[in-house]
Symmetry: C2
Subunit: 251 residues, 2 copies
């Protein structure tokens, strides 16, 4: 499994991904899941991937090949994030179709992969899209400023409570890291190193961080969050025991 | 779907369940999922249920019938929580077996249900068990002081961060309510009223609460948690931008 989250705010975009992949519990590897392509001052694309590793690697390879070969359609030429998402979805679906079959040795195997693609093309604002395994995609909205792929449930509540359009890049980045930490605690198949990318609107420059398991900042963040959360918890209003209702069924 | 959580501490037990059931998005109903049986000073059993509503209702009916009819094996006679869990698992499996079939009109339908059973029998300490749809069960441990059934992922991180054997009943109850709130925000199929049961060790008395959507305490709790969480968040250590690594792939 995998966990990736991307957040859009007025101030820009934040991307965060883990690096663990697994095919069963004894086939665990480390692969980065964040790919970045930029033409300085003109376009920045960031791609996060989850799902079948062979599919995601093949898709990223194809994206790179199209750039290198100056294909008619590539991240070098596509006019906006929406078209880039369609292009990525089409590659992903084609790659899956190569292997899927109803019966035979591949029958029943899932080759599905999901992607988040975001960034900015000069003249447009920064945008995000999530590409489904089926190849179609959705974007964020004012009410839902983030997109997740992979093991998304454990890390969702903190995003819902903290994020809004006015969130700063710094806060969104920390929120993504806390969301990642909550997920790593609860699910063994999500693990470090953690990659973080911060894209300030109109900057055409991505600032990237990589946090290993023993990273000082990540450890300080986790420790502080645990401590402050318990402090916050202790301040919650007390339960009024006289509000109890009693409807015991006596034997 | 459903969300139920039960917590065991030195101080006693806490149970929390939502009341929403659904079979598709337009067949949503309200049913309590907490059943309590006690013989004052001698035994207290609390049962939480998730899964197929017909199965869970049939199981609780059978439990009640066995008590009423003075059956040889019932919550009136069983010597401990472990045997009560086995008894509950056996009823659940038998009830599912009545309806399951490979083909025919019932083919492919899931009649599965999960249960948490907890409480205390005089002479033993308070205990919890989770009964799988297959009929077998697990208990808590020192490291895992809680059990969940239903839509468990959204509400898990807060339990992991707050709970330990030394947690007070009051804090465990508030933690269960925060965990429930996180789940309700993220999943439409989990909803109020929320039922809460607090069982102090050796009390042989369950204190029950019921919180409707507009309950003053529940609203105050949610509001305070949102506020304190944001405050806690703002105190987190700042990201050191100079720690960034740059490995952009330029076009």
């Amino acid at each position: 499994m995998t966990y990736c989250v991307a957040i859009t705010m007025d101030a820009g975009l934040v991307f965060c991904s883990d690096s663990r992949t697994n095919a069963g519990v004894d086939q665990v590897s480390t692969y980065g899941k964040m790919y970045h392509y930029s033409v300085r001052g003109e376009r920045d694309f960031i791609v996060l991937s989850a799902g079948n590793l062979a599919t995601t690697q093949a898709v990223v390879s194809q994206i790179k090949r199209d750039i290198r070969d100056n294909a008619a359609t590539s991240l070098k030429t596509l006019p906006d994030i929406a078209e880039a998402a369609s292009y990525l979805g089409e590659i992903s679906r084609q790659e899956q179709d190569k292997h899927v079959s109803v019966g035979g040795p591949n029958g029943g195997t899932s080759f599905e992969a999901s992607f988040i693609i975001g960034g900015q093309v000069a003249g447009d604002k920064p945008r995000l899209a999530m590409v489904y395994p089926q190849g179609n995609h959705i974007t964020t909205s004012k009410d839902t400023p983030y997109l997740q792929i992979g093991e998304s449930k454990y890390g969702k509540p903190i995003l819902d409570r903290i994020l809004s359009a006015g969130t700063t890049l710094e806060n969104a980045a920390r929120c993504a890291l806390v969301s990642m930490d909550s997920t790593m605690r609860s699910n063994l198949t999500v693990g470090p190193p953690i990659e973080l990318g911060i894209y300030p609107a109109d900057s055409f420059a991505l600032t990237r961080f990589r946090f290993d398991d023993d990273d000082d900042y990540l450890r300080a963040l986790k420790k502080a969050w645990d401590k402050y959360l318990i402090e916050a918890f202790d301040r919650l209003p007390s339960l009024n025991w006289s509000d109890s209702v009693s409807h015991d069924e006596q034997g």
